[in-house]
């Protein structure tokens, strides 16, 4: 793309949250997407519940700020602050566990009620490697003992279409379809809801006027570098 040479693609940050029942593979999907890694019987990673990953599209770069649940979903105690202002959500269920789809539907309803109106939601059925159609045709341990699938593609897909959700079946274990989910979300984020990353791009000026009164607490303690009162 010669016309883009030298002109860096506009880059925007997008807050993406993960929702779904515990143990469906939310953290594993992020680990696969961000580090292309997978850990069997993964312990929750301490201190890491905020990751970033870029997604390069032909005309722009989306920088996902990925918020993991930090385990607060385990006893149904996720804080609303967590999904406030999210521009994208990955609602994950486990293909081998029907109750996890019920839970996923609750989350979709909650997002439609509480989240920003333009939010892009992807419904993701994870652990495809445990089913007979594991995507890459590769057999797995589970296949030896038969197909563990308990939620049909048909059922989930119909629901996703009714609610206008993106829909994917993935395996965080093999990596099947994982990047595709994030790319599809990046493509679906409406141009208008994109905040240009701080300092980049001219359209940021208008946005920053509205942000005028926002304060950056991490900035220097006292701008006047004065001790005592501002006299």
């Amino acid at each position: 793309m010669a016309d883009l040479a030298g002109a860096p693609r506009p880059s925007s940050s997008v807050k993406l949250v993960l929702l779904g029942e515990a143990a469906v593979g939310k953290s594993s999907l992020v680990l696969r997407f961000v580090n292309n890694d997978f850990q069997e019987n993964k312990e929750p990673t301490i201190g890491a519940a905020f990751l970033t990953q870029k997604c390069n599209l032909p005309t722009r770069t989306i920088k996902f700020e990925i918020w993991d649940t930090a385990g607060q979903e385990r006893f149904a105690s996720l804080a609303p602050m967590y999904y406030r202002n999210a521009q994208a959500a990955l609602v994950v269920y486990d293909l081998t566990k029907p109750t996890s789809l019920v839970k996923a539907k609750h989350w979709v309803a909650e997002l439609q009620r509480q989240a920003s109106p333009g939010i892009v939601i992807a419904l993701v059925g994870n652990k495809l490697d445990l089913t007979n159609d594991s995507g890459d045709g590769e057999g797995t341990d589970a296949n030896d003992s038969g197909d563990a699938r308990k939620v049909s593609t048909e059922e989930a897909k119909t629901y996703a279409e009714e609610e206008s959700l993106l829909f994917f079946e993935t395996s965080a274990k093999t990596g099947y379809n994982v990047t595709e989910v994030f790319t599809a979300i990046a493509n679906a984020i409406p141009e208008t809801s994109l905040k240009t990353a701080r300092g980049a791009g001219a359209s940021a000026a208008a946005a920053s006027r509205a942000e005028e009164q926002r304060v950056n607490l991490n900035g220097p303690r006292d701008p006047n570098a004065k001790e005592g009162c501002a006299c």
């Binding site: 201190g47 385990g71 602050m81 009164q213 004065k226 009162c229 501002a230 006299c231």
Partner: protein, 464 residues
């Protein structure tokens, strides 16, 4: 559902701000924390709620009607139950920055800090002067008093407790603030706004306190430094309301391994030899209900979880009001604090008005939320006690005022029974007393001072 561990280092009861900060700090320090709340939401008494919840909490509507429906989208309302602002150079700001909880929250300035002089229709409401220049322009003082005030502010700025040359010949460590005021020849009305709207003392007890001058000067400097930081007022406020603060610290705790359970009632505190060693509890809202028992080396929580272990030290009167206009004489501020010093209206305790609006995403456009509060001084007629504050609001669309809210304090310090109880959120207009309580509880339970600077360094996992 996951299993609850048989034992934790600490069980925390209630998800108010004090509890969530402590939970976060303890988790970061490697303690295994179980954090419980009986409610279905975070925040306990420090929550922000929508109008429907507020109407239902106060019950001030006719059965069968739904008055909240005339006020736009419910989700646009985040009304604080306890009104407070953060001092931008205060301790809570410091804790937020040191723990990186700022990452989850956004703050905006509060547009103005005002004080009332006089009472009734002849009262003056004016910006609190925070530097020498503002002092000279202020309508609060006559021409000669302005000069004296300018001299005082400049002196506070250059004051150094370790340098006697800056002490104006006073024995600063033993003298009273009255002696300091007298040194500058300040008038009573000026002392009033300095002590109440800058040093933020709720009453006049500080004036004659022997050795109290240094603290008063420190408080005035905190005010000045906080104004200097962002310019408009010393206060900042989180978008979507104060309820975001406990949620932010709860997330910090969870990230460092803390376990969260809302909707969970404590059925029994379990003791051995007079020491708390665990709890029996039930989590509802799940099918079937989950009853469990777990142990802990210590238990901390808010007063509501320990009815026999706290005493009432006072009552707060509070009226939450919905307006369709900004406060008069505040330059149409989208947010402000207005302090009515006690002596101006013949009281012993100040009246505070905290006002926020859609600028901070706490209500739809076109609305303002003003919360009027004070410490109760009488046994009845509470609306009369708040009247000087309510008078400042003009037309009120909705008013929520319940019975006086008791302020609780623990009877013991917790070292004997391993139960560490926080204080109720007091009537003060900012969070400095809350962070004092956090430090005090931490000292009691950990046997050391809490140092938040650098808390997450070295254990933080990289972003990218």
């Amino acid at each position: 559902m996951d299993e609850i561990a048989p034992e934790y280092d600490v069980i925390v009861l209630g998800t108010g701000l004090t509890e969530c900060i402590l939970s976060g700090v303890l988790s970061v320090k490697g303690k295994k924390v179980l954090h419980i709340d009986r409610n279905d939401h975070y925040g306990a008494d420090a929550a922000s709620v929508n109008l429907e919840v507020l109407f239902k909490k106060y019950g001030n509507y006719a059965k069968g009607t739904e008055p909240w429906k005339q006020y736009g989208r419910l989700n646009d309302w985040n009304i604080d139950l306890v009104p407070k602002f953060l001092m931008s150079s205060g301790e809570l700001t410091n804790i937020l920055v040191s723990t990186d909880v700022t990452r989850y929250l956004e703050f905006k300035q509060v547009a103005g800090s005002y004080v009332q002089q006089g009472s009734g229709p002849r009262a003056t409401v004016a910006k609190v002067p925070s530097d020498a220049g503002e002092a000279l322009r202020s309508p609060l003082m006559g021409i000669f008093e302005k000069r004296r005030m300018k001299g005082f502010i400049e002196w506070v700025g250059s004051f150094n407790v370790k340098d006697t040359a800056t002490h104006k010949g006073l024995d600063i460590n033993t003298c009273t603030m009255k002696e300091v005021y007298d040194k500058f020849g300040l008038e009573t009305t000026t002392k009033d706004f300095i002590g109440h709207a800058m040093a933020l003392y709720p009453n006049d007890a500080y004036i004659d306190l022997k050795g109290g001058a240094v603290e008063a000067i420190d408080r005035i400097r905190l005010y000045g430094n906080s104004v200097a930081r962002y310019g408009k007022s010393p206060y900042i406020y989180p978008l979507y309301g104060l309820g975001e603060l406990p949620q932010g610290f709860a997330r910090l705790s969870a990230i460092y391994g803390g376990t969260y359970m809302l909707n969970t009632t404590v059925d029994e505190l379990v003791y051995e030899d007079g020491k708390a060693v665990g709890i029996k509890a039930t989590m509802t809202g799940v099918d079937p209900e989950m009853t469990f028992e777990t142990k802990a080396k210590m238990i901390l929580g808010d007063p509501s979880y320990f009815p026999g272990k706290v005493r009432v030290v006072g009552h707060v009167l509070r009226a939450i009001c919905v307006l369709k206009h900004p406060l008069a004489s505040t330059n149409d501020a989208d947010s402000c604090q207005l302090i009515i010093p006690q002596s101006q209206v013949g009281r012993k305790n100040d009246i505070y008005i905290a006002c926020v609006s859609s600028a901070h995403n706490v209500c739809p456009k076109g609305y303002w939320i003003a919360i009027v509060s004070t410490i109760a001084e009488t046994a009845a007629n509470h609306h009369l006690e708040l009247a000087p504050g309510l008078e400042r609001l003009g037309r009120i669309e909705e008013q929520f005022m319940g019975s006086p809210i008791p302020l609780y304090e623990p009877l013991e310090d917790g070292t004997r029974d391993k139960i560490f109880i926080s204080k109720s959120y007091d009537a003060s207009s900012h969070f400095e007393s809350t962070t004092d309580d956090v430090r005090d509880i931490y000292r009691r339970l950990a046997g050391e001072e809490l140092v938040v600077e650098g808390l997450r360094e070295g254990i933080q996992v990289a972003d990218e």
